[in-house]
């Protein structure tokens, strides 16, 4: 598990001792394709770091059915809602293919971070980087860059 954790960018900034501590609150888990991992609105207890496979984040929109908001893959964090009150899933999640992930027990992770603020700080840095990447990608999608230019800015 120690070597495995070191290979994950999120834990690259941690030393061996800190990775060992993370190993005590992490589980290697597998999900079959088509398995619903999260239901929006349910209480959060853990979050996942996807190691392989892909997951669709979705929500139900009246008139449109279940809409995929984003897909996640290897190296992505699944379960950001765990980090913020009211700790309920904002979106659902279903595996699109077999998924291997590291499951992190939320309450225990919080306890080890409280006990070792240096670990908490480094982990937070890694998570913040991942969150900022996600924010940038979402903003890029909002630009709708591949759309037809508006009439006033059309090309020759």
């Amino acid at each position: 598990m120690l070597d495995d954790l070191g290979a994950l960018p999120l834990f690259a900034g941690l030393d061996d001792a800190q990775r060992r501590v993370i190993g005590t609150v992490a589980l290697d888990v597998h999900f079959a394709a088509g398995r619903r991992m999260l239901f929006d609105g349910q209480e959060t207890r853990a979050w996942w770091l996807i190691r392989s496979g892909s997951v669709a984040l979705d929500t139900t929109v009246p008139g449109r059915g279940v809409v995929t908001v984003q897909t996640l893959g290897a190296g992505d964090v699944l379960g950001w809602s765990w980090f913020v009150p009211a700790q309920r899933w904002r979106f659902g999640a279903v595996t699109l293919e077999p998924v291997r992930a590291l499951e992190l027990d939320g309450a225990r992770l919080r306890a080890v971070c409280d006990a070792d603020p240096s670990l908490g700080y480094r982990l937070t840095q890694g998570l913040l980087e991942a969150a900022v990447h996600g924010l940038h990608s979402t903003r890029a999608r909002l630009l709708d860059l591949y759309a037809q230019p508006p009439d006033g800015r059309r090309a020759p």
Binding site: T68, H136, T138, A140, L145, Y146, A155, P156
Partner: protein
Amino acid sequence: MLPVAYRVVERAAQTRDAATLRLQPDRAPLRRGRPGQFYMLYARGIGEVPISISGIEDDGSLAFTIRDVGAVSRSLHSTRLGALVGVRGPFGIGWDTSSAIGHDLVIVAGGLGLAPLRPLVLELFGHRGDFGVITVIVGARGPSEFLFRDELAAWAAGGDLRVELTVDQPAADWGGPVGFVTDPLARLVLDPATTTAFLCGPEPMMRFCADLLLRDGLPAARVQLSLERNMQCGVGVCGHCQLGPLLVCRDGPVVTYATAGDLVGVREL
């Protein structure tokens, strides 16, 4: 500098507003262009637009993928089989693969940006042994907006390269990835010492991708991008395509991020 007559011998609709025309010389052909170069296409009585080559055939015919975004492109886009189109070129600098021999290649296309990258990919198939892992990431607004869909499927099935498609906007009939091209790009495990990247799409898209690649340690000189400006003369005389110290028709359209990285983010440049 005068347009040469080419005849439309094939027209394939790609999306609701983009089509690929295959043009054959009516008489003597123009010089054969390289992937990444562009030609000026003339719609008689309407005007001329710069279009990158999307296919270079052995029989001397050229393919251009045109999106209806204005008067000239609308006329070209709707050109019928057998009609004549004026062609000048080839112009500019294309993709540089010679400096990437032995490297892994990352090719990122967004929207219509796949068109100038297609001949590069086709050329790579002919020299597959010269390169390591080749990853092609293609982003589109929605599932129906991908260019060359059949070819993308064939490339993915062929095993010579990794193909990752992603859409910005989900659709009911799409079970594939949803996200911006930077999402699959960020998931790639790259060796920055032996990777070269080729980017084509809207300029912000290329900027975001280049920033990610630089963050991963890729030198800016090994990130190539194709710029789009108001090319008119095609030979660096008229100045309409000036971008700071560059005349894109002459110094581009393919430039490295080392050359253009500081220019593409400047407002109104």
